[in-house]
């Protein structure tokens, strides 16, 4: 019993280790693809390597062996060549060209697999979504330890990719962010791009057995895109992408085990959830941050408008009194709670409230006065822009506008512009 149990744990360990290694390799390559807007190259290659793999296996290569890698790289190059050919000779847009090239190669691969099922030990289903659960059963001994062959292949590829990325880091980043400048600076952009292509096919083949052709697309694009949302520096993006990929693999595998379903598919789902969370929670421009900042602006505007309308009411403009919308009422309640408005139905401004309202009305009228002086707008066109900008003018800008107006005390509608500071009595004024 204990012995079976141990095997069990080891089995899961090896499967998770394989998935995590594959994921890390894919996230590494995928980051470059995403930044270079080549995510769909990953899509195309992951489909198109199939006939290369099948033919290599047919020619006697072992799955996960060097021959299979070679076949896959050749197939990937053929896809890109075909896409370019369709682009230059048939005038196809890139998406349509890629769509034609990779579906055709994939179809050929599936037909080969189906037709040669007796000679090639590849299952058509496995081609699409991999069988991560079976990885631990095909092992090779390393220093007396039975290591899954797929893990060995994936680890080798990961090591190669990491070394290559470290050696060509400068060239890779330069080409990724500004290919034209890189070319002008004398970098071999074509070779770097071809290298990226080869790296993509290596990562794809390494992942093929574990997660299948199509889920490689998720592993390539999703962690990288999520990382891109979370951080702004490229080297950080690589680290975060790899971390997200590894975390997704572990969680996905365990979830699949729990729900008794396909591990590769579940990993893709978990990666998708990671992306969703990143899109929602990214600092700065995540959905939540954007909604919060938009709503808080709306809220601030509502409060300030409320204060300003009370100020105008104190000036004798009674029409501005009652809060109308729900937002207005909430703002009113907030202002009462914050001690800006006197509680009760009459609800005038408190001293703090009057202080704040004055600044807003001052901004508003300064802007109207400035527009009236410098821009030939009709009188009834001055209010809307001022109504918008009154919430955004700082003290310095107000000071400059006031200086520009040279002490003009009224706005174009003939109302007084409230002063920046509380008016002091003449006695307090320092004498010169």
């Amino acid at each position: 019993m204990i012995e079976i149990d141990t095997t069990h744990v080891w089995m899961h360990f090896w499967a998770i280790a394989t998935a995590a290694t594959v994921s890390a390799a894919c996230a590494l390559v995928g980051s470059f693809l995403v930044v270079r807007r080549l995510s769909l190259l990953g899509d195309a290659i992951s489909h198109a390597v199939l006939p290369g793999i099948v033919l290599a296996v047919l020619a006697g290569g072992r799955p996960g062996g060097a021959g299979v890698f070679l076949g896959a790289v050749v197939a990937a190059l053929v896809t890109v060549w075909l896409t370019n050919l369709l682009g230059t000779h048939a005038g196809l847009a890139e998406d349509a060209g890629a769509g034609v090239a990779f579906t055709t190669l994939f179809a050929i691969g599936v037909v080969l697999v189906s037709a040669l099922a007796s000679q090639v030990d590849i299952d058509p289903g496995c081609v699409l979504y991999g069988i991560l659960e079976l990885v631990p059963f095909d092992t090779v001994p390393i220093f007396g330890l039975e290591v899954p062959r797929a893990l060995l292949a994936a680890a080798t590829v990961l090591a190669v990719l990491v070394v290559a990325a470290a050696l060509c880091w400068k060239e890779l980043v330069f080409t990724a962010f500004d290919p034209a400048a890189a070319r002008a600076a004398g970098l071999p952009v074509g070779i770097v791009s071809a290298g990226l292509l080869v790296a993509t096919s290596l990562a794809t083949v390494a992942s093929f057995e574990a997660v299948g052709a199509i889920l490689v697309v998720a592993m390539l694009a999703v962690p990288a895109a999520a990382a891109e949302l979370l951080v702004r520096r490229f080297h950080l993006m690589l680290v975060v992408a790899v971390a997200l990929g590894i975390a997704g693999s572990i969680v996905g595998y365990l979830a699949a085990w729990h729900f008794n379903t396909n591990a590769a598919g579940m990993i893709a789902v978990v990666l998708g959830i990671e992306y969703l969370l990143a899109a929602l929670l990214a600092p700065g421009d995540g959905v939540v941050a954007r909604v919060v900042s938009r709503e808080s602006l709306r809220w601030r505007v509502a409060c300030e408008d409320r204060l300003a309308s009370l100020w105008r009411a104190e000036e004798g403009d009674a029409a501005a009194l009652a809060p109308r919308t729900l937002l207005d009422r909430l703002a009113q309640a907030r202002l009462v709670f914050g001690g800006r408005i006197v509680p009760g139905r009459a609800g005038g401004l408190t001293d703090i409230g009057r202080e704040e309202a004055r600044v807003i009305v001052r901004s508003h009228r300064l802007w109207e006065a400035w527009l009236g002086r410098h821009v030939a707008l009709p009188l009834d066109h001055l209010h809307p822009p001022a109504e918008w900008i009154e919430h955004h003018l700082g003290a310095e800008v107000r000071g400059r506008i006031a200086a520009d107006l040279e002490g003009d005390e009224g706005d174009p509608h003939g109302r007084d512009i409230p002063p920046e500071e509380f008016p002091r009595r003449a006695a307090d004024e320092p004498t010169r």
Partner: protein
């Protein structure tokens, strides 16, 4: 037995069963409609959005299967597929609107994740051994053998509806596909029409699912329009042509897959479509590879002939010329072929010189040709010289420096000899300076 067989007009094997016929008709109309609708997907560059929608259908099939309580009811499954396909497209739009992620990565994310979810669901269903779940995997790669006549009729009807919609809104879709800015400026609801087209593509992807499978159904939408595009520049021709190619591809895929056991339909349909495309890329008039090759050959040949005539006209000033003399002035394989052609068309004719050797001279016809050519060249020279000064300035920018072609040493020699000739012949100009 013998009598019974003799009664029949032809062997029984030739009449396919009713079911096969109906399925074939259904698949044919699916192929036709996919081609027609796909034209706009290709023209609007929505090919890969369609792919993302296609991969998402698997999830819908699984969900509908669970919701339907394990019935394998094709309309129900396809309804589920359509809803997730449209959800995937909505996801694409949302990612584009709310995040920094670019379109290519968004497509890859939607495609990969929704496919993963579909696989997870289907694997979960089959691992629990829910009865009737065995056939769900046919939606992965397509398998028409399991279709009933009723299913095929539904697919056919939906396809015809899609074609009818495209025909009805042909003007609007064409306008939006070719000039969205103009369409928007003219007051057409471009976004609405765009969304409608994409949804129609999603519908076609779903309808094509049983024939081509989630993974490859995009090809049914993309390849036939691309093929049709090779043959024509007109939308009115491209649509039916794409439909026709789609129909042929779908039918041949289905036929081969029913003949070979254990062979999924989808890949065969795709390969058939690709073969049609390959043939078109080779043979299409004007755009095809063969037509291009012939055209460039004709241009080269015409140029070589003209060049030979020009040289011949110059050489003839000194009497008849030999083939070698002529070709020495205008080398190249094309020139040798042109020489043969000139001889064959009797533009040049053989003569025997006074010395008794064989040589050639221009015939009357050839001289006319050569004269016409030099007239045209002279006219072009005139045109170029009459061009405005600034235009000529632009012309000379692309002229390489003579040193780059002749080499500095040769150029120096030429300059020296020219200078020597000048100083020998022009003491007047020398005296003036």
């Amino acid at each position: 037995m013998i009598l019974a067989a003799a009664d029949l007009p032809f062997p029984t094997g030739w009449i396919p069963p009713y079911n096969t016929l109906v399925v074939a008709a259904g698949v044919a109309s699916v192929g036709f409609a996919a081609g027609v609708v796909g034209c706009f997907a290709v023209l609007r560059r929505r090919a890969l959005a369609g792919d993302a929608a296609a991969h998402a259908t698997l999830l819908g099939v699984g969900l509908a299967f669970l919701l339907g309580g394990g019935r394998r009811d094709l309309p129900l499954l396809l309804g589920g597929a359509l809803s997730t396909a449209i959800a995937a497209l909505a996801g694409l739009v949302l990612i584009g609107r709310w995040t920094r992620t670019r379109e290519d990565a968004a497509t890859a994310i939607v495609l990969g994740v929704s496919f993963g979810a579909g696989i997870t669901l289907l694997s979960g269903i089959s691992a629990r051994g829910i009865p009737g779940s065995a056939g769900l995997e046919q939606f992965l790669l397509g398998h028409t053998a399991g279709l009933t006549a009723a299913d095929a009729m539904i697919l056919g009807a939906l396809s015809l509806l899609a074609v009818a919609l495209v025909t009805l809104f042909l003007k609007e879709s064409t306008l939006v596909a070719f000039d969205p800015l103009f369409a928007a400026a003219s007051g057409w609801p471009v976004t609405l029409i765009d969304y409608a087209l994409v949804v129609l593509v999603a519908v076609m992807v779903v309808v094509g699912l049983p024939a081509a499978g989630a993974v490859l159904v995009t090809a049914l939408v993309v390849i036939p329009p691309v093929t049709a595009r090779q043959w024509t520049d007109r939308v009115g021709v491209m649509l039916p042509l794409a439909g026709l190619f789609g129909l042929v591809a779908a039918l041949s895929g289905v036929a081969v897959s029913s003949a070979v056991p254990r062979m999924p339909t989808g890949p065969l349909v795709v390969i058939a479509a690709s073969l049609l495309l390959a043939i078109s890329l080779l043979l299409a008039p004007r755009r095809g590879g063969l037509a291009r090759w012939l055209r460039s050959r004709r241009t080269v040949a015409a140029w070589a002939e003209g060049r030979l005539l020009e040289v011949a006209l110059r050489l003839e000033g000194e009497g008849p010329f030999t083939r070698e003399q002529l070709l020495a002035k205008a080398p190249g394989v094309a020139a040798e072929r042109a020489f043969k052609r000139l001889a064959r068309t009797a533009a040049i004719e053989p003569v025997v010189t006074r010395a008794g050797t064989h040589a050639w001279r221009l015939a009357v016809w050839g001289r006319e040709l050569a004269a016409e050519r030099s007239r045209r060249l002279a006219a072009w020279t005139e045109v170029l010289e009459a061009a405005r000064e600034d235009a000529r300035g632009h012309l000379t920018i692309d002229v390489p420096s003579p040193e780059a072609i002749l080499g500095a040493a040769r150029m120096k020699a030429i300059r020296e000899s020219a200078a020597a000739a000048r100083s020998a012949s022009g003491p007047v100009s020398g005296g003036m300076s």
